[in-house]
Amino acid sequence: MPSPGKRRFFEQGCRVLALAALGTLIWRAWRPPMSGERPVVTRSTASIPSALARATRAPLAALDLTIDSLPGPRDRAWARAVAATGTVVRWRRARDLRPDVDSLHAWAPLATALEPIADPSGRVRLVALGPPGSSLAIGDQAGSVDSTKLSRTGTRTLDAMLDGLVTARIPGGVSSSARRDSLVVRPVLVLADAGWEGKFIVAALEEAGWRVDARFAVAPQVSVRQGRDVPIDTAHYSAVIAVDASVVPRAASIVRFVRDGGGLIVGGAAASLPSLVGILPARGAAAVSPTLGAVVSEEPRRGLDGVELTLARNGALVLDRTAGRVRVAAARVGVGRVLVLGYDDTWRWRMEGGADAPRLHRAWWSAMAASVVRAPLVALEGTPDVDETPFASLVASLGMPDDAPRAARPPLSSTAWEPVLFALVLGALLTEWTSRRFRGAR
């Protein structure tokens, strides 16, 4: 039986041991990760959440994520947050990926964006970027919409009726997007002399669903009017279509309208008006004789009268040519847009063209108007969570992949000592208490 002195000494030792173990536990909980510590390695995307949970519970020196499919936004954000606490988070692709997806391009860079377009029928534009030549399947909440391929440059633009969450898939990659904005499109004003061109421009736009105001000059002080008699400004109109010289009395307000952000389309017959020339991206030059019979061909606009355009402004873009001649040019003027047409009688396309000519004429004019209209964006409420650029977001969160081969080491059980230490605390305290009780102390 040891002496009471020795027993007290023993009890003191137990207390010290318990305190030391407790201190170690506390230190382990709060210490920064040590650089020399072996990293935690995951073997698949599915095991990332558990690894992140561990790294959240206890700081790790490093976390090596092996990815066999792109992680979702939640895991990416989590990993980024873990990295922000000091843990080195690296990622690499799994070595056993299928051959068709085992490349950086195969499943990495699919990105989509859904944007509203000024299309009265309610279509939206989906822009997809990804590996060149990939098969692209697009669907929305009402099912599959289209199957197509990305171009040789890896792009595809699709204008269609798309509802809700839109999903684009390529082999090995998926991206989702949703509309975040809508547009405010005010009426288009058509200014023309009474004639076939003005009539059929208005008809095409109205049939396509545009709200159109019109002024057809018939005689001095006599016109046929559609819409209210309001000033030409961006509060009332989104674009003006100046078909011919009837626009001259309103030229000054049109120039002001464009500089304020409005859109302007100038027909071939008005492409050389001095009052507009200051804002035009191109001017009418030599007359272009139509190619006989071309109006019913695959290139119907070659069969139209008009003028060849010469670019007259820096930054002017050529949007359409026939037989090498510039027929449509556009440029930004201030915050507005101006588009000049080198065609005089596009109505002939509608009347004389092939079987589908009325629809094509309508679509062409609708596209012309859509490309210049001032259409401010309005944010939509309740946009669903989308993952438009999963790979880019992953790279943005964690950097480029670290694809250096890494020996698959068993994950270090950095928390294995914690139960031992905890048991040590309990054991030391219990032993100390028992010893005290046996010797009669409290």
Partner: protein, 715 residues
């Protein structure tokens, strides 16, 4: 130590088996049979109870709405699962009963004990008799004791008593399965059979199977058709449709669009009839508190007869109205031709004074079916035609449609004109089919033959002779060329002159006759107004447009003539061939003006611009409606129908039926795909591919380009 029975005396063995042992063995088999029957009855009862309880839960409303016919997906599997569950329970209960029964290992001794239990007065005589160690001396006494007691009657009673409880269980289970409201078709049928026409007390009865009998209108000659549970019915307007089904009349309702239909009692259930119309419609069948069903009606179109006039084959100008003219026309119709005839209108007069008379000729035989040929003869004397009169002739066919018709089809018309005497003196009137061209053809062919012969002979005769002969042919060629130029200018008919006939035949081209360029210039000058050519088809002046083949012939003849005049017949042949070909084309050219060109007035715009005394007033224009606002709405309805389809399959199919009617006109491809999808869904088959087709057909305006625009559309 016991010895085997077989080794004992055979007599004693036979005696023992013939008596108690045989009896007990027989009862042992009966007891085993009773145990088997009890197990089977218990299994049947348990299985039926399981069916009665699980079926309403698993099948649910799907079966109720479809009347036992499965709509989409889960309904059939629900019924099947219920049956599987019932079968499993039945097997399990029967098996466990059998397993638990002691009979499974029933020995003869235990059978004897059971018999002793039923008849205590045996006092174990039966059991004792079975023992191997019973003394032979005791056996007779035991046999007597056994026979003295009527134990078999008690055993039989006990036997039947043991089956009573399982039989009751089985009966109860089967009764429950039969009588539970949402049950098998047999149960509903029995209810309907038991109370035809009576209102169902308690739970609603599903509509069940609906049969549609369709009787097309008599004129179609089509027979009555019958279809069970159709989703879409195509019928000619005026068809008589009769729907029949089982179940109570009072709780069954039928509505055609918004008009209620009378539902009447019929043997075994109900019936409702209506006549199909000329527009699309929906029939809604409804059972009170129960299910509803849609039936889409689409009218078939009875096409008008197609009529082709075979004779006369072309318009004709007659010098005198004499003789007869055979008429013939082919007529065909999709259902049947009722009548056909030739119609003529004779117009007489000129200027502002015209008189008309009309009539019909010919008739088809009464029993003409779907195609026939109409013949008649037009007597020109009978029409009392005068010079300048025009007979307009066509064939007209009528079909047998006496509901919405008759459909009338007509052929193209032909005109027969009687020439006026004075028009032969004028070149400004009708150009008859060109006999002058025919003459040229003959001449040109003859000239070619002569030239070809000369070329062959050229090697064997002197060059000077060749030249002389060639020039002689050249003069004939020049003569023909002048005829052609006369034709060209005669067609122009406005004071223009061709090459002068008064010129000497031998006159050289340079001495007065026109060159091709001069001819063309002169011809165009004749059509010019203030220096601007009159507009005409193909941006050509009339003289060019009308006479293009003849001008080509003229040019070619000119080339040929020059070569012939130069003594080079071989070089003359290619243009001569070209001239012949051009003349041939002229012969087959379309008909020219019916009359001469009208006078042309050119307005001096500069002089009169804005010189009017009156002033106009501004006016307002009303906007056009968008061409296809339906587009987006159809897509929205389709998406909604898909959502409904996932939640309530039958309602989703109904939505698709309604959508199909709505899109039939504007999106026929979508309607076709929808029809297929509805059929597949009703048959519980996969319709995914067809629904995809519907989506694409509804949104047929997708614009897909593989570039990014340099000129974006959104700011």
């Amino acid at each position: 130590m016991n010895t085997p029975a077989a080794e004992r005396t055979p007599v004693s063995a036979v005696t023992r088996e013939a008596e108690p042992t045989t009896l007990v063995a027989g009862w042992r088999r009966r007891l085993q049979l009773a145990a088997l029957l009890r197990a089977l009855l218990a299994g049947l009862g348990a299985g039926a109870l399981a069916l009665a309880t699980s079926r309403p839960l698993l099948v649910g409303t799907s079966v109720a709405e479809q009347g036992g016919r499965v709509a989409a997906g889960s309904a059939l599997s629900g019924g099947g699962i219920a049956m599987l569950v019932a079968g499993f329970v039945a097997l399990a209960v029967a098996g466990s009963q059998w397993w638990r029964s002691a009979v499974r290992s029933l020995s003869t001794e235990r059978a004897a004990l059971w018999l002793e239990e039923q008849a205590p007065r045996l006092r174990f005589a039966l059991v004792s008799a079975l023992g191997d160690d019973v003394s032979p001396a005791v056996r007779p006494a035991l046999a007597r004791a056994i026979h003295a007691v009527p134990w078999e009657q008690a055993a039989r009673r006990a036997f039947w008593r043991s089956l009573r409880a399982p039989a009751l269980v089985a009966f109860g289970g089967v009764a429950a399965a039969v009588l539970v409201p949402v049950g098998l078709g047999a149960a509903r049928s029995s209810v309907a059979r038991d109370r035809p026409g009576a209102g169902a007390p308690g739970a609603p009865t599903p509509l069940g199977s609906v049969t549609l009998t369709l009787q097309p209108p008599t004129y179609t000659g089509l027979s009555t058709a019958r279809e069970v549970d159709p989703a879409l019915v195509r019928a000619y307007p005026g068809s008589r449709a009769l729907m029949t089904g089982r179940g109570p009349v009072v709780s069954t309702h039928a509505v055609l669009d918004s008009a209620p239909l009378a539902v009447r009692e019929a043997p075994g259930g109900w019936q409702a009839g209506f006549t199909t119309g000329a527009s699309r419609a929906l029939v809604r069948l409804q059972r009170d508190g129960g299910d509803a069903r849609l039936l889409a009606l689409e009218p078939l179109v009875d096409s008008a007869p197609s009529v082709a006039l075979r004779a006369p084959a072309r318009d004709t100008i007659l010098r005198v109205p004499r003789g007869t003219m055979p008429l013939a026309a082919d007529i065909q119709d999709d259902l049947g031709i009722a009548s056909a005839s030739f119609e003529y209108i004779v117009s007489s007069g000129e200027g502002e004074r015209f008189t008309f008379k009309s009539g019909t000729l010919g008739a088809l035989p009464a029993e003409t079916g779907r195609r026939g040929t109409l013949h008649a003869v037009l007597s020109l004397e009978g029409l009392q035609l005068a010079p300048g009169d025009v007979v307009h002739l066509r064939a007209v066919g009528r079909d047998r449609n006496n509901v919405s018709g008759p459909g009338i089809g007509s052929s193209e018309s032909r005109t027969i004109r009687i020439a006026r005497a004075d028009e032969y003196d004028s070149v400004a009137v009708d150009q008859a089919p060109p006999p002058e061209v025919d003459e040229s053809v003959l001449s040109q062919r003859m000239l070619i033959n002569m030239t070809e012969a000369l070329v062959k002979r050229a090697r064997s005769i002197a060059k000077s002779d060749v030249t002389v002969e060639s020039r002689r042919i050249g003069r004939d060629q020049a003569r023909l060329r002048k005829q052609v130029s006369d034709i060209i200018f005669a067609r122009l008919g406005d004071g223009a002159e061709g090459e002068g006939h008064d010129h000497d035949e031998s006159e050289s081209p340079a001495s007065g006759s026109l060159t091709p360029e001069a001819l063309l210039k002169a011809a165009e000058k004749a059509t010019e107004i203030n220096g601007h050519p009159t507009d005409f088809a193909g941006d050509e002046t009339p003289v060019v447009a009308i006479n293009r083949p003849m001008l080509e012939a003229f040019n070619a003849m000119w080339e040929a003539g020059r070569a012939l005049d130069g003594g080079e017949p071989k070089r003359a042949l290619p243009p001569m061939y070209a001239a012949l070909a051009a003349i041939q084309r002229a012969r087959t050219a379309e008909r020219l003006y019916l009359r001469g060109a009208p006078p042309r007035v050119v307005v001096d715009l500069a002089r009169i611009r804005m010189q009017g005394k009156d002033k106009g007033t501004p006016d307002l224009r009303r906007p056009r409606a968008p061409l296809d606002p339906f587009h987006r709405e159809a897509l929205r309805r389709f998406a909604a129908a898909l959502t409904t389809l996932e939640q309530t399959p039958t309602a989703g199919v109904d939505s698709l039926i309604v959508l199909r009617l709505a899109v039939a006109d504007r999106r026929p491809a979508a309607a076709t795909a929808l029809e297929g999808a509805i059929t597949e869904l009703r048959a519980s088959r996969d319709a995914t591919a067809l629904l995809l087709l519907v989506r694409r057909a509804l949104d047929d305006d997708i614009v897909s380009v593989d570039t990014l625009s340099r000129w974006g559309s959104v700011r």
